[in-house]
């Protein structure tokens, strides 16, 4: 379908002299009228449309999490030269005079080396991210034992206790932790930003992969039918009867925990969800007359499946995708909560919730974990509902 570009049409024998000018081909990327109507319907659902925007903004922000929460400065101007510590690691000799005996040539430590900061400030300036912690940065000077309260919530009593116990004083020098720290002394706000990103990315990858596998499996079953369908369906029935969680527990004991290991294990089970749907669509679709017409033209099975049948099955698939996404996010959070998810130390929302459960007095852990998960899932569900309604041709919007 790529050879559409040149449009040199001999006009003389084909159109009458007074005939209308041939309409230009619509742009390849333009929406078809049907999709344009769906988009209009989607926009008409204010809640879903707003949710999509909020979610998109949050997701784009979290994609640049390194610029928002990091223990490296974003930008350093030193001695007339620009440096980007977020992207590159510089030795501390970079920010010192040549024969300074104090510098050793190790990687610059911007957090714990006040001399370094002083030297840079003398000859230039630093731009810090709004949150000066990476998700694994340990707060080294807290005002109270971990988990420590959000800085703004420290009471006079807390400060008095800090002075007694030899903790950091409540003064202007105290580093702000907007949402406090967790049990291991890591900034909660930073972990939430990174946790949101990893959850959504994990969900997206899992959704895309399981949709691809599920659609292909369902398409093959539905299109060929008969024995293929019968065998495949029985295999799937047996497969889905394996208790997923127990298998996961066993596998995570054997395999090293990791992002992609977990993705693979979950994919083993999640692809089944779409199969039935796509299979039904293909079973229905393969008897349409335009499929017979395509076969009468000699079009091959693969082309019929993907050119003629898949677009129809995609409507049913698309309405489910947002829900699969929220399901995947939820599964990841649940596994993290149980300790079988991402490797320890990863910025995971489930781990945060687990810590909140272990330390019920540390309200900042529970509340921030709860609101992040609740808002994220609500947004996804609202978007999903709007998508579902927009694809429903019979739904009437007023």
């Amino acid at each position: 379908m790529d050879a559409r570009a040149p449009r040199s049409i001999p006009e003389t024998p084909l159109t009458t002299p007074t005939g209308p000018v041939l309409a230009p081909a619509p742009s390849r990327f333009g929406l078809s009228p049907l999709n344009r109507r769906r988009w209009e319907n989607f926009k008409r659902n204010r809640r879903g449309y707003m949710s999509l925007w909020i979610f998109a903004v949050l997701f784009v922000l979290s994609l640049s999490a390194e610029l928002i929460a990091n223990d490296q400065p974003i930008y350093i101007r030193y001695d007339g030269t620009s440096y980007f510590p977020v992207l590159f690691t510089y030795p501390d000799t970079t920010f010192a005079d040549k024969n300074d005996p104090d510098v050793l040539g190790t990687a610059a430590d911007y957090r714990n080396d006040p001399d370094l900061i002083a030297r840079i400030n003398k000859k230039g300036w630093i731009v810090w991210p709004p949150i000066r912690f990476h998700y694994d940065t340990r707060v080294d000077n807290p005002p109270m034992p971990f988990p420590s309260k959000p800085t703004w919530a420290l009471t006079r009593a807390d400060c008095a206790k800090a002075a007694e116990g030899g903790f950091a004083k409540c003064d202007a020098k105290l580093e702000p932790n907007w949402l406090g720290t967790d049990v291991n002394g890591r900034d909660v706000a930073a972990r939430l930003i990174y946790g949101f990103r990893i959850s959504v990315l994990f969900g997206l990858i899992l959704t895309v992969l399981s949709s691809v596998v599920g659609v292909i499996a369902g398409a093959v079953q539905g299109y060929f039918g008969g024995w293929t369908d019968l065998l495949f369906q029985r295999v799937i029935e047996i497969w889905t009867s394996i208790p997923e969680l127990y298998l996961l527990l066993i596998l995570s004991a054997v395999l090293a925990q990791g992002f992609f290991t977990l993705l693979g294990i979950l994919l083993l089970f999640s692809w089944v969800g779409l199969v039935r749907l796509v299979r039904a669509e293909f079973l229905r679709g393969r008897n349409f007359e335009y499929i017979t017409a395509a076969r009468a033209l000699g079009v091959s099975n693969a082309v019929i499946m993907f050119r003629h049948l898949l677009p129809n099955a995609m409507v049913a698939t698309m309405t489910y995708v947002p829900f699969i996404l929220s399901g995947a996010v939820m599964t990841l959070t649940a596994l993290d909560f149980l300790g079988f998810g991402l490797p320890p130390g990863s910025p995971s929302l489930g781990e945060l919730l687990n810590e909140a459960k272990a330390n019920p007095y540390a309200w900042w852990l529970g509340l921030s974990g709860f609101f992040t998960v609740a808002i994220m899932l609500s947004l996804l569900i609202f978007i999903g509902e709007a998508v579902r309604d927009a694809f429903d041709a019979r739904k009437i919007f007023r």
Partner: protein
């Protein structure tokens, strides 16, 4: 029939508008008609002319509030129904006014028995229950001519034939002896022989029960048989009305004249006895095995096509005629090798039987098919240009893009469509235009043989004759050989040079069209012709439902 001073139903200046987002669509535009007691009034028009909309608004069954009435009144027995509440309407519906729909398959609930469906109406409006209700159900069923009604009570709709289902629908509509029966294309989905029987039944019942009937159809032949008064509708307006005889003999409005002249011209392709044989089958069989039991042993066969031999020469048109279920479409698909069959299929001297899918591909270029349903036969997600050029991609994969485009444009011009429409999608076209696109898809490969599987059945009369004219022109210009499958004998007689009458998979009669039409040999063929051309019913033993 004499008209009383006060008509039973009087519709005045009725308009119906549909809200679609911000826009308003006027479906019915200041329509007025009267129906007297015991009278039959027909609304005639093509699809989209608003005739069904008029019928549904009498029952107030439109999808309110998307639909609303900007003007007009519907006075039934002296009471205006437009301001009537939903509860008042429920009392009118099914009791005073009842309706029969076109599709008997979907208008009966497949999960309820016949008795339950009819008894429900009796209970709602009459409060009849138990033995009394059962007696009334049996009475109704025998009234509509269902043989042995007691044994049918516990039956489900799928156990009945299409004609019998329509009879049950009529029984349902008559259950409470309505004053007005609305029949919305009641015979369109039925075979011609069954159609004749149902029409006769409706007329008989009307005479016996003295009810009025509002008859909605696109088929002018039926109107003449059934109605006293006719109203011709187009684009939501009544353009002409009057007694049936007057409208037929002296039509006033140009649209009516157009409709009456719409019968396709009889100009069949000539026989070509010396031409090369394009398609030959010898004792072709399509048997579907019936499997039973644990071991799925074959206990018998459904003989969809049972020993059919064809010899079709170049430039001829073979008309295959028969009721639904007679195996005519199966025969077409078997010749194109789209379903498996037994017996030789020889195409232009090449034996096709037993060829694999890939080996068939070179022959597919020369044999094409056009289907009945112009809505189902075009992929809704491809543009017209994509649909037409698909065959070119398969058979001429190396064809340069501009050549391919030229061919698409030529095919579109040949079928009478504007080439600039090729970037649009099928849903933007009307039924007739879609059928033209389907024809363009078939001819773009320049085939020698085209199977036309009821290409005009889903279309209005006017469009039908246009498509017939188009097919005839294409056949002449390109020396095409057609196999024309249809249950509509009028269209077949307009095109076919040879006729083959099929029944239950077997050929009943075969021969040159002129001979068969002039002197049909078998009883079945005679009955078929009588039903199709003069809506006469045949003796029951010749045509079983």
């Amino acid at each position: 029939m004499a008209r009383s001073t006060m008509p039973l139903l009087s519709v005045r200046d009725l308009s119906v508008a549909f809200r679609q987002g911000e826009r308003e669509m006027l479906a019915l535009d200041h329509v007025s008609f009267d129906i007297g007691k015991g009278e039959t009034v027909a609304l005639v028009g093509e699809s989209g002319s608003g005739k069904s909309c008029a019928a549904l608004s009498v029952m107030k069954l439109l999808p309110y509030p998307q639909a609303h009435h900007p003007s007009g009144s519907i006075v039934f027995k002296g009471k205006d129904l437009i301001p009537a509440s939903e509860r008042e309407m429920q009392r009118v519906r099914g009791d005073d006014i009842s309706i029969i729909f076109q599709e008997p398959l979907t208008s009966l609930n497949p999960l309820h028995t016949i008795e339950k469906q009819i008894a429900e109406v009796l209970e709602v409006h009459r409060g009849l229950r138990g033995p009394a209700a059962r007696a009334r159900v049996i009475e109704l069923l025998s009234q509509v001519g269902i043989p042995d009604p007691e044994s049918r009570l516990a039956g489900y709709p799928h156990q009945l034939s299409g004609g019998q289902r329509q009879r049950v629908m009529i029984a349902l509509a008559l259950a409470n002896e309505p004053d007005l029966l609305i029949a919305d294309e009641p015979t369109t989905a039925l075979d011609v022989t069954v159609q004749a029987q149902i029409l006769k039944l409706l007329k008989d019942l009307q005479a016996r029960l003295g009810m009025a009937m509002l008859f909605i159809t696109h088929d002018l032949g039926i109107v003449r048989q059934v109605a006293d008064h006719v109203h011709v509708m187009t684009q939501g307006k009544i353009v002409e009305h009057g007694p049936v005889e007057r409208v037929y003999t002296a039509p006033q409005h140009p649209y009516t004249r157009q409709l009456l002249a719409a019968e396709p011209k009889k100009e069949p392709a000539p026989l070509n006895p010396s031409g090369p044989i394009v398609v030959r089958t010898d004792d072709l069989k399509v048997w579907f095995p019936i499997k039973r039991g644990m071991l799925r042993s074959v206990v018998g066969h459904i003989k969809a096509v049972d020993g059919v031999s064809i010899e079709l020469r170049k430039g001829e048109t073979l008309g295959v005629v028969g009721e639904s279920g007679s195996g005519k479409t199966t025969l077409g698909l078997a010749i194109l090798r789209l379903i498996s069959s037994d017996g030789p299929v020889v195409f232009m001297g090449h034996q096709l039987q037993g060829l694999k899918f890939k080996a068939m591909r070179p022959y597919r270029r020369n044999m094409q098919i056009v289907f009945q349903d112009p809505y189902g036969s075009l992929s809704p997600r491809l543009s017209v240009s994509d649909i037409i050029e698909e065959g070119l991609w398969v058979h001429h994969p190396k064809m340069p893009a501009d050549e391919r485009e030229r061919r698409v444009i030529r095919a579109l011009t040949d079928v009478g469509l504007e080439p600039s429409t090729r970037f649009r999608y099928p849903h933007e076209f009307s039924g007739g235009q879609r059928q033209r696109i389907a024809v363009a898809r078939a001819i773009v490969l320049e085939p020698t043989f085209v199977v036309l599987d009821e290409p005009t059945s889903a279309l209005d009369m006017l469009i039908q004759s246009q498509i017939v004219a188009l097919l005839r022109k294409l056949q002449r210009d390109r020396d095409l050989t057609y196999m024309f499958i249809s249950h509509d004998l009028k269209v077949v007689s307009a095109l076919a040079s040879r006729i083959m009458v099929m029944r239950q998979g077997k050929v009943v009669e075969e021969g040159p069209a002129a001979e068969v039409f002039a002197a049909p040999k078998s009883d079945y063929t005679r009955a078929l012709f009588a039903a199709a051309f003069s809506l006469e019913t045949a003796a029951a033993d010749v045509v079983a439902e």
